[in-house]
Amino acid sequence: MGIDLFEAAWDGFVSGVHGLKNIVIIVMPLMVAIELAKDKGIMERITAKFDALAGFLKISQKAVLPLVVGVGIGFSYGSGVIIQSAREGELTLKDRYAINIFLSICHSIFEDTLLLVVMGASLSWLLASRLILAVAATLLYGRLFVRLEKEPHSSTTTL
């Protein structure tokens, strides 16, 4: 019995180390790539290409940068950008909710996705599901928000 438990513990240790070994191979280059991207301001430059996103997601132009940063690099990094922009009075409450809804569902898309792909998950399913659901939830919020805003004024809201 005691020996069995020791063996089980050892097996657990080995599978843990084995999993970590695969993760190291992915994480190290990724982290360097992210730092290089931050340094070169790549996120800011990419943001210009995503201008159309503001219209599509019904968010203001200023909300695109925290969104792109959060999706690419991570939630806390994106939040930092939100807090800074909000302090400068550039983001409305509606914008902040919209960004948070999107980022809650979809952030750190490179790191999170790759860590789980290493575990054997399907890359396309992971990427597609999170992006599609984040867009859908943000659009739904935009819809609901518009309806909530209009309701007191007009009774002719259509579904």
Binding site: E7, G12, F13, V27, V32
Partner: protein, 142 residues
């Protein structure tokens, strides 16, 4: 911060990488050992049996409940430890992965959300709902 800013991005990246792996190791190694021992004692099997009816709706074995719970409330790393410790098909790993990437670390990330001046609870609730719906859809369509 200023010291970090001076450093070159390669050094910073490698440092972040080592940090991430270290944070992972601290969670993954103890958890894979613990789960392996729980499996041996039969405790995991008992828990899995209890969760089986619920988890089968998602196309998952009972043990996967553990991955979802620790993923939701702790972080992705601990869910990874459970994935490493239990037997899963590629489809099952994908279902757990989709659910966990959508919804994880609810306490920590809830705090991050709150800092931006929005309410954390409705967002957390939304994540749980979206995560479960996504799990059902992946199980159905994969």
């Amino acid at each position: 911060m200023s010291v970090e800013a001076i450093q070159n991005p390669w050094v910073r990246g490698l440092k972040n990488g080592i940090n991430t792996v270290w944070e992972l190791a601290k969670v993954v190694i103890p958890l894979t050992i613990l789960i392996s021992v729980l499996k041996e004692t039969g405790l995991l099997g008992t828990l899995a049996g209890k969760m089986e009816p619920l988890m089968s709706l998602l196309g998952l074995p009972g043990e996967a409940a553990l991955a979802l719970v620790v993923g939701y409330f702790v972080n992705i790393y601990s869910a990874i430890a459970v994935i490493l410790a239990i037997e899963l098909t590629a489809k099952q790993v994908t279902i757990i992965a989709v659910m966990i990437t959508i919804c994880h670390g609810l306490f920590l990330e809830g705090a991050i959300t709150q800092k931006t001046g929005v309410k954390a609870f409705p967002l957390a609730l939304m994540r749980v709902v979206v995560s479960i719906l996504a799990g059902l859809v992946v199980n159905w369509l994969y």
